[in-house]
Symmetry: C2
Subunit: 342 residues, 2 copies
Amino acid sequence: MAQKIKLSTIAETLGVSTATVSLALRDSPLVASVTRDKIKDQARALGYIYNRRAASLRTSRSGIIGVVVHDIMNPFYGEILKAIEAELDRDRQTFILSNHYDSVEKQRVFIETLLQLGGDGVIMSPAIGTPPEDIKLAEDNGMPAILVARSIEGVDVPIFRGDDAYGISLATNHLISLGHRCIAMVGGTDLTSTGRDRYLGYVQALRKANIDVDPDLRIPGPRSMQGGFEAAVHLLSLPQKPTAVVCWNDLVAIGMMNGIARAGLVPGRDVSVTGYDDLEEAAIATPALTTVWNGQSDVGRSAARALLDRLNGSHEPDGIHLIKPEMRIRQSTGPLRLQQGD
Amino acid sequence: MAQKIKLSTIAETLGVSTATVSLALRDSPLVASVTRDKIKDQARALGYIYNRRAASLRTSRSGIIGVVVHDIMNPFYGEILKAIEAELDRDRQTFILSNHYDSVEKQRVFIETLLQLGGDGVIMSPAIGTPPEDIKLAEDNGMPAILVARSIEGVDVPIFRGDDAYGISLATNHLISLGHRCIAMVGGTDLTSTGRDRYLGYVQALRKANIDVDPDLRIPGPRSMQGGFEAAVHLLSLPQKPTAVVCWNDLVAIGMMNGIARAGLVPGRDVSVTGYDDLEEAAIATPALTTVWNGQSDVGRSAARALLDRLNGSHEPDGIHLIKPEMRIRQSTGPLRLQQGD
DNA sequence: AGAGGGTTTAAGAGCGCTTTCAGGCATTGC
DNA sequence: GCAATGCCTGAAAGCGCTCTTAAACCCTCT
């Protein structure tokens, strides 16, 4: 690299002031279009690189937005991220992505880093146990926060997520309507709002159908294919095997179906399985997975939009924005078969 | 937010100069430890946020490293990213992640943004058709680049990737040793170095075993489960059905197995399938997938290490660093069965 | 021709931090 | 007891950009 090209370099070679160059590059109407074009051509010719650190030091607007979720490799968050990315791209915002893996510590480091970089805002799916102070840390330093997918108590920032209780009740009711009475629930934890809401939806649906809730049929925890696979092994070893399983998400459901298949049973015939999220994988699983679409793309898009609006002054009303999930019925669920039937 | 706390705020409240505060926070030996502790306590008490933009404007080191790959949601890149993340975290570097979706344009925008932010370096898996100038753009502006997973012609920056030709030959030879002669290859394109190398490995393995290469048995393109699923439908409709399939990656292989199962055949018995990458999913697929471990974590870790070393002055030798893949034999491959056998 | 109006450009003061260099103060050696 | 030796601290310049204020310029109109 020959030498750093800066505004003043362009100004000198053209015999104008740096102010004019700055204005011209920013398309200010204060600069004549002839001058502006001349300046832009010269900038290109010299290979000028705009220095955002210097600019944002002055303007205190960095164009950086942070996004932090549990795990960006989890397809559920992946679909939210894609929607956020698309929305932010349209506004030419740079976004910084990070996993917190449910470590409050890692999440706080991320927020602090973002503040140091002068981030304009942050979209987060908070780690389990996130203290409200960590959100306030961002807000107090002029960095608005928006939550997605999970709520936390004691903060009043906008939240976008699916209506979990309703969504899981859709799945549970579907199984009940197929004649199932012994329905397990696999995955989720009481440590997140999502976990609590989904379990609630499951319990309420059972109660409404006058089915007793058997605590042995709840296996909290699993979130991955691996987890679903292991849960299958466990459930199929119970004296009273469930005939249907409501899974935390599609990954768990696919793992569950694999586990059922390994045991020599046929998912969808011997044991019905529902997923949650309606990932791309769901439709091509074997058998195709009955699941609940959770509005990931809506969540991502709306959250990004809300943040951008907020940055532009129009203060979006705070509070929870629930997206209504929808049922996707495929082949992994079927009518109850009698014990020794076939 | 009450008011911006800066170095000078701390300095004033303590009656020392800003220089002392700066030095103290940076743990300079020039400041007495008593003073240093007092300053640090005060900084914490006031809720001071270090302004990296201002600092990096002065030091021209930002602590930001860019990482751009085809698609962060693709588990193959995901495992590379995890390794990079772990390595960069140890050096307290912030990293900015992006997808390019094989758009050279999007990739260039990313590089430019990174330059504007003063990025210290960039790790990239270049988009198909990346012109060498785009890499030079980074290097010429003092931002070292490291390539992962894919090579491109005409640049001499360090490259870390698996030995694709060798890896695919492992899979192909494995199938040949099981008696298969009619072996399809699904996925990959001649547009990437990886695609060319893997096809080459496949062809060479067949030739060495005196098996004719049938162009109809190559289906370029698929990369996803969906793609593998569709390829299965196509292959099983051929007059001369293949008895084994070498797949581009594990996702394609899993999709392929789903497609085979949908057709009423048993993967691993009726049609053998190999994957590539050895993702977590491979081991729990049904049947468990025979695949080739491609050293993703090694690639990520080494690439990050190389970049950090380079930033610290020790100039890593350029050139290609090949990681040796390894075979993982599971249940999705089995001996050739005679046409009407069983 | 001069004034008034509109348009275009220049000047300059920071944004918050780093870092060198010189000077102040206390301690030690003779 | 006095000079020398460390150890700390403060002053100040400047990283590259923005943006307001004010001045310069060029018309047009009277």
